[in-house]
């Protein structure tokens, strides 16, 4: 799923300060699971903002709403007729949701309330880890199901580099060396003999390097 993290409230206050009617809009998908932008976080943020502006002696309307998915036209349509009463929306969805909102409601200010961070999973409650960079041409078959593009700090295709120490990455003793994990797994799978094949130079044109990406599937259009 997409993992997001809360934005500092000071940053949100600064962006919405010029406005008087504001909607805090949550999303029931990934950001709910990673506890950054679901119904609960919408409530907490809205309360904190109300208290802040009240203390400032300003009368500002701050409403709350959480919809099923902000990256879906159907659910965003639910808001039509309602968003007109607001000058600005703080979306707690990922960057996709924020952009969908902004695209659909052309004259409405839409601000992000979270930082969209990565594609990952919950390790334990309160800890989320990155597992995929959506490079567009998956090599997990060659690397024992562990992604060096994402999990090696230098995305080394023929690792481990010379900085791997006791299974950890040179940049942080808390970060596993992806290539140590790959080698351990290849060993368990009895595939360590494949290690010596040189990984070819990667075609990054399916990555962000190739420009904005789009998939067109004629079979399902």
């Amino acid at each position: 799923m997409i993992i997001a993290d809360k934005k500092p409230i000071e940053e949100i206050i600064e962006t919405i300060a010029p406005f008087e009617q504001i909607l805090i809009l949550g999303c029931n998908e990934c950001v709910t699971v990673c506890e950054a932008g679901g119904k609960k976080e919408v409530e907490i943020l809205a309360s904190a903002l109300r208290i802040y502006f009240l203390n400032q002696g300003r009368e500002i309307t701050i409403d709350e709403k959480t919809i099923e998915r902000q990256c879906d036209h159907e659910y965003l349509e639910e808001l039509r007729g309602r968003v007109d009463r607001y000058q600005a929306v703080v979306s707690l969805a990922c960057g996709v949701g924020v952009q969908f909102m902004a695209d659909k409601y052309k004259t409405l200010e839409v601000f992000p309330g979270v930082n969209t961070c990565f594609l990952g999973a919950t390790e334990t409650r309160g800890v989320w880890v990155e597992l995929c960079q959506a490079c567009g041409s998956c090599i997990l078959a060659q690397t024992g199901g562990i992604c060096p593009v994402t999990r090696c700090a230098k995305r080394v295709m023929n690792g481990p580099c010379g900085g791997s120490t006791k299974g950890k990455c040179e940049i942080d003793k808390e970060i596993d060396c992806a290539w140590q994990l790959i080698l351990d797994r290849m060993k368990r799978l009895g595939r360590l003999d494949k290690y010596e094949a040189v990984a070819p130079i990667k075609d990054w044109s399916s990555d962000r390097a190739g420009g904005p990406r789009k998939i067109i599937r004629e079979d399902v259009r």
Partner: protein
């Protein structure tokens, strides 16, 4: 192995003579004298000089320009090139630029992560990794082609090197990784600084058992310790560096004013021992900001005078 390039380093290695290389770190400024002064200190005692490429991810004068300074002095540079800062366009372009100045040696590296340096907020590139950079140089040199397939007019003629670190983990993969570099086309290796000689000997022995030693020239890396503090720093702070407790004890057990001398002694003793090791074809003396000690080390290790080589 017969020399395939005009590289002086390759020629010396191909005669079976022990080679000696050293390195100069470029300055954090544009003063060319920093390079020429360092090079002057070591030029009569080494066969070729590495110029580091923004080592430890700290921004410095570029390796290529500093290599050109060495060429202008009539010296033999080894262009270090990391894949951290340039994509395949930049790398190939710099290789051609170096070749235009007849720089005949290249050392292909991944580079330290930018979080260690002065631009921790910067992007890293890593379009290729070090092994793929080896492939790239060999492709340009041998096939006279860019990665994109088009022909290179006056291709580079470079002797291709890489680093190897027998002390990084996991140890068991360090020989297979060397094999991978050889498969990619590497011709010489400069190793990480060796303080744990037993481990290094085990590594090179395993490389020998795998039949790798006839396909690559291995230059053993040595760095003289200036002080017990430096020994501890290297052990604790430098990624992938191993300094055994006995070395630290020996340095710490020496009075402070004699520690530098002791460090040189350890370095020379290491070279003497490693000279006897099968597969060691030379030495890479990395006297970090202590270049003036290189001549003394090389002389005491019995590696001076350096052989003369006929130019192409």
């Amino acid at each position: 192995m017969k020399a395939a390039t005009p590289s002086r380093l390759e020629k010396i290695l191909s005669t079976g003579e022990l080679a000696v290389t050293s390195e100069c770190g470029p300055p954090r400024g544009s003063d060319p004298d920093v390079i020429t002064r360092k090079a002057d200190l070591i030029k009569d005692h080494v066969d070729a000089i590495n110029i580091t490429d923004n080592q430890t991810a700290v921004t410095r004068m570029c390796s290529l320009a500093a290599c050109i300074r060495l060429k202008l002095m009539g010296l033999e540079p080894i262009l270090q090139m990391v894949t951290r800062d340039r994509n395949r366009i930049g790398l190939q372009s710099d290789i051609l630029g170096a070749a235009s100045f007849d720089i005949h040696n290249i050392l292909c590296l991944t580079g330290d992560h930018q979080s260690f340096g002065d631009c921790a907020a910067g992007q890293n590139v890593h379009d290729l990794d070090s092994i793929q950079l080896i492939q790239t140089v060999r492709h340009m040199r041998d096939e006279h082609q860019f990665l994109g397939g088009n022909e290179i007019l006056r291709p580079p003629r470079m002797f291709v090197g890489a680093a190897a670190n027998p002390f990084a983990d996991p140890f068991e993969i360090r020989v297979p990784r060397l094999a991978k570099k050889i498969a990619a086309g590497v011709e010489f290796i400069q190793t990480q600084c060796i303080y744990n000689l037993d481990k290094f000997e085990r590594w090179i022995q395993l490389a020998g058992e795998k039949g790798l030693l006839d396909s690559v020239h291995i230059l053993a890396g040595v760095t003289p310790l200036k002080s017990a503090g430096m020994a501890r720093y290297m052990k604790n702070r430098v990624p992938g560096m191993e300094v055994p407790e006995e070395v630290i004890k020996r340095m710490a057990g020496t009075p402070k004013e004699k520690q530098a001398e002791e460090g040189i002694k350890i370095c020379v003793e290491s070279i003497q021992r490693l000279k006897q090791v099968e597969g060691v074809r030379g030495f890479h003396v990395m006297a970090i900001e202590w270049e003036e000690k290189v001549p003394e080390i090389v002389e005491k290790a019995g590696l001076h005078p350096r052989p003369t080589v006929e130019e192409d």
